[in-house]
């Protein structure tokens, strides 16, 4: 009997909170808030906050054209796999004190899982056979490489800080990091973590492929690159994935640096998480979007491997010497 209840509970985690439904609603809302804020900063009115929902439902109603040159199964399946991987990431990330699945993954798993949605998109695009997708794939991969170094440095810095504090040397477990912050307050209050947090903020738009770093999906030059041949529902799923990715990365930020703010009540925590995510989205994605022009791909690479990596490395060095 208890097994059934447990199974149902876990199913609930996967499907409702913090799984699929939460990802869908919160991600889309974040995306809407982002679009609204960017519009505001550009002195526009902007779309309604629910606009991403409209877009998604509209796309679901459209015809899905599979080009004759495409490999059908990969083309159709990869959006779903990418979305599923994102939902799973969200399950790993603790919501303050609460973690749905603490026992099956840690920071490095998340580091790799973050590759999966991008990979799904790359494979889907490659399977479409479009030359635009080829260019997009190349750029997307370079963007991933660019973000990888600073992200690794940030995660190692956090692992060292928490590990050093709880006495295991290093700590890759996200739930332990969350627990540590529950007891000792947010990591962002530490001096050594400030550059890391800043680096992470700069990383979020790159990882999500948001504006100045969206060379891979440049709609004006390479016809949205990887997505050039997608239409209808699969495209909608990709748009949803993009929204959920924003949620995942921002809530990863919350989990890494802003833990310990939780109230202990799950519903309140969820709302708080969402609000913090929206705040981080505003600060990192929307704000940068509003006043920058799209970077060239080699500029993205240079930027991430110099400025952002340097920030993260400073943080790691500070953490290393126990500051």
């Amino acid at each position: 009997m208890t097994i059934v209840i447990d199974a149902l509970q876990y199913l609930g985690y996967v499907l409702i909170f913090p799984g699929f439904l939460f990802c869908f609603l919160a991600g889309m809302l974040l995306c809407g808030i982002d679009r609204k804020l960017v519009a505001k900063m550009q002195k526009r009115v902007g779309p309604p906050i629910l606009q991403p929902f409209y877009d998604f439902f509209k796309l679901c109603g459209k015809e899905t054209i599979i080009p004759a040159a495409a490999e059908r199964n990969t083309f159709m399946l990869s959006p779903l796999v990418g979305l599923a991987a994102l939902v799973v990431i969200q399950l790993f990330i603790p919501v303050f004190g609460f973690t749905a699945f603490s026992g099956i993954g840690d920071i490095i798993v998340i580091l790799y899982l973050l590759l999966v949605p991008a990979l799904a998109m790359i494979l889907g695009g490659a399977a479409s056979g479009s030359p635009y997708a080829g260019v997009g794939l190349s750029r997307e991969m370079v963007t991933i490489i660019s973000c990888e170094l600073p992200l690794v440095l940030v995660l190692l810095a956090v692992a060292k800080t928490v590990g050093g504090a709880i006495g295991t040397g290093l700590c890759f477990s996200l739930s332990q990091i969350a627990e540590y912050q529950e007891v000792n307050g947010s990591l962002i209050t530490k001096i050594s973590m400030l550059p890391a947090a800043a680096a992470m903020l700069l990383l979020i738009p790159g990882e999500t492929g948001s504006h100045p770093f969206d060379a891979a999906e440049a709609e004006t030059e390479i016809c949205e690159g990887l997505l050039a041949e997608y239409s209808g529902a699969p495209l909608g799923v990709f748009k949803l994935s993009h929204a959920v990715k924003m949620l995942s990365l921002t809530s990863l930020f919350v989990a890494l640096f802003l833990g310990g703010l939780g109230t202990g009540i799950l519903a309140l925590d969820a709302v708080l998480l969402f609000l913090l995510c929206a705040l981080i989205t505003a600060a990192s994605i929307s704000f940068v979007h509003a006043f920058t022009a799209r970077l060239k791909i080699e500029q993205i690479f240079k930027y991430y491997w110099t400025v952002v990596s340097l920030l993260a490395a400073v943080s790691l060095a500070l953490a290393w010497y126990g500051l």
Binding site: A68, A126, S128, V142, I297
Partner: protein, 638 residues
């Protein structure tokens, strides 16, 4: 009856396994004129080898026994080992298992892969000779025997590299390999001779017993020579160009053996000399050597691979990059590190074997491995594509495939080491390993785009899927990739941890052969604890549930509102969007990808391109310089 029982005792199985392969080789040379006879003989010998090795699992792994076997029952006399010995501890068994599995699968694959070549008889003769050489090398308990086996496998590998001598550069590659390989072999022999002069024995166990008391200039020199010698076999930097040349030219089934197994025998040799023979020389300094060369191999080769546009050459560079992972992890000298390194060795054999077989399948059907000429094969060869993707995901460390599990352990091991020793160098190793991993992913994205996805060139319109035999060989590897990825705990518990324990238990190794092991330096192996958690089965379950839920919603939400081209002629609607132009063939070549990355590193890539000049003298010079540096290092630092 008793005699039969004696013959079938597992004590004899190691030599049976070696003999099965050599005997198969000789029998094919003698009677292999007919194809059926040849195939049956080859299959029998590889199956027998696999069977004998698997049968050793029970005593060696479960009972922790160390099998010592004296050829001709010539036990040591007067405290000195005169006879030739085989000694199988968990480490040897581990590598032998790798060899047996890879040889078996590659043998199955060969039967249909090689059916368009002539001189098949010679192929199988050399192939089994190569396999026997590797098997003999990892099971041998005698340093000179190891040298003999190394020579056998080098010759067989060189001959097989040049086997398709009409392939562009095959003979050239074979010659380069022969020259540098023989320099390496010479180094091993000189090292062996010097050790013999010092200790008057060639038995590994006895060498391990005697070496600790006797660390002088000569043994240091011997260490350097042996290290470089086995290094050439493992193709670690600076010998990586040879690997690239040889793999590119050799038939795919041979590349599997060269990359999956031959390089591992080099790693085996390095583990034996570092951890067994010379462990008293101070592992701390040796650690630096191993980790430095490992990280260098890891990084240099992955960047070289990014610049390649030949499928097999690219895989070859990746193979050395992965060997770099193994070497780095093994060099960390912790239980976790060695275990992780060995785990990665298994995985490398499996996924690189799979990838080479997929490359071979592509070559078999299309006749080329040039990434700029291929594309869109996913529509023609769906199974090969799926199997290739499994391999590509594994090598790039995408969860839940096996590459992830072992890389995860390697990261933890190196970072743990960094934290524990306070040495920031190991931190750098962790970072390099992580970056290498993502660069690996990048180059496999490149391969998958320019071979299997993208557009189908018009001249490849008649390509067909490869035969069942080849697909099933790949399937075995793919299945093993998934299994080792999904059950890392089983793999570590039954394969890598016993082997890692064997690495740290030199005393047992010496005593099993009947020598006094009390002088051996006992390393602190210790247990290890994972700093994070990784449970692939639950993860996969969660992913499946999520995927299922999404799929159900998708199907309910008219995801299937699909229209696709049914008519043979492609209507406008189903053509690709080309800014309005009519669809034409415009596949993005493999070379042109990742410009943004290469542009920033153009100086580095130019430098590397100049360095890999293709002139055999340069490679020989690298070997000599490497030898000089390692010698200097071992004389000064160790």
């Amino acid at each position: 009856m008793n005699m039969l029982g004696n013959i079938l005792s597992y004590q004899h199985f190691p030599i049976y396994a070696i003999m099965a392969l050599f005997l198969g080789s000789f029998l094919i040379a003698a009677f292999g004129e007919k194809r059926s006879v040849r195939n049956i003989l080859a299959l029998l010998s590889v199956t027998a080898a696999l069977g004998f090795i698997l049968a050793l699992m029970k005593p060696v792994v479960f009972h922790g026994e160390i099998i010592s076997y004296w050829m001709g029952a010539r036990e040591p006399a007067g405290g000195y080992a005169i006879g030739i010995a085989l000694e199988v501890d968990a480490l040897s068994f581990f590598f032998a298992l790798l060899v047996a599995v890879a040889v078996f699968v590659s043998g199955v694959y060969s039967i249909q892969y090689m059916n368009r070549d002539d001189n098949e008889k010679e192929y199988y003769t050399l192939y089994l000779l190569l396999c026997g050489g590797v098997m003999g090398m990892v099971l041998s308990g005698d340093l000179f025997n190891m040298f003999i086996m190394v020579e056998i496998l080098t010759f067989a590998a060189v001959a097989l590299t040049a086997f398709r001598n009409t392939v562009r550069g095959a003979v050239e590659a074979a010659f380069k390999y022969l020259v540098v390989g023989c320099m390496g072999s010479t180094c091993i022999l000189v090292g062996t001779a010097i050790l013999y002069a010092q200790t008057h024995t060639l038995n590994l166990a006895q060498l391990a017993q005697l070496a600790p008391g006797d660390v002088n200039t000569a043994t240091r020199l011997a260490f350097a020579l042996l290290f470089v010698g086995f290094g050439t076999k493992a193709f670690i930097v600076p010998f990586h160009p040879l690997a690239a040349d040889a793999h590119g030219a050799a038939p795919a089934s041979v590349s599997v053996i060269i990359s999956g197994v031959l390089t591992k025998s080099g790693i085996y040799g390095i583990i034996r000399i570092c951890y067994f023979l010379f462990q008293s020389m101070g592992l701390g300094a040796m650690q630096f050597l191993l980790v430095f060369i490992g990280s260098l191999s890891m990084f240099v080769c992955v960047t070289m691979a990014l610049a390649q546009h030949d499928f097999k050459r690219l895989l070859a560079f990746h193979s050395i990059s992965q060997i770099g992972y193994v070497l780095t992890a093994v060099g960390l000298c912790t239980a976790l590190g060695v275990s992780a390194g060995l785990y990665h060795a298994i995985n490398h054999t499996l996924f690189k074997g799979l990838l080479f077989l997929a490359a071979g399948a592509v070559l078999h059907e299309t006749g080329t491995t040039d990434l700029n000429k291929l594309g869109g094969l996913a529509k023609k060869m769906p199974h090969t594509t799926a199997l290739f993707m499994v391999g590509a995901f594994s090598i790039s460390g995408v969860p839940p495939f096996n590459g992830f599990a072992s890389k995860w352990m390697i990261y933890q091991a190196s970072y743990q080491k960094a934290v524990e020793s306070g040495n920031i160098g190991f931190l750098l190793v962790t970072i390099i390993a992580l970056i290498t991993s993502v660069l690996t992913l990048a180059s496999f994205v490149k391969v998958s785009h320019s071979v299997f996805f993208g557009q189908l060139p018009p001249e490849l319109a008649n390509v067909k899927e490869v035969s069942w035999g080849m697909r099933s060989a790949m399937g075995i590897f793919a299945l093993l990739c998934i299994i080792t990825g999904l059950f890392p705990n089983l793999v570590t518990a039954y394969l890598t941890e016993p082997a890692a324990a064997a690495v740290f238990n030199v005393k047992n190794y010496i005593e099993a052969m009947g020598f006094d092991g009390s002088a051996a330096v006992q390393l602190e192996a210790g247990g290890f604890q994972h700093a994070g958690v990784w449970d692939p089965v639950s993860w996969l379950l969660v992913l499946c549930i999520a995927l299922l839920a999404i799929t159900i919603v998708a199907v309910a939400g008219k995801y299937g509102n699909v229209s696709r081209c049914r008519a043979p002629a492609v209507e406008n609607k189903y053509q690709l969007f080309y800014g309005g132009e009519e669809q034409e063939f415009s596949q993005l070549g493999g070379e042109d990808l990742f410009w943004g990355f290469k542009h920033n590193w153009r100086g580095y890539f130019k430098f590397m391109h100049r360095l890999h000049s293709g002139v055999v003298n340069d490679y020989a010079l690298w070997a000599v310089v490497d030898l000089a540096l390692v010698t200097l290092f071992s004389l000064i630092v160790l």
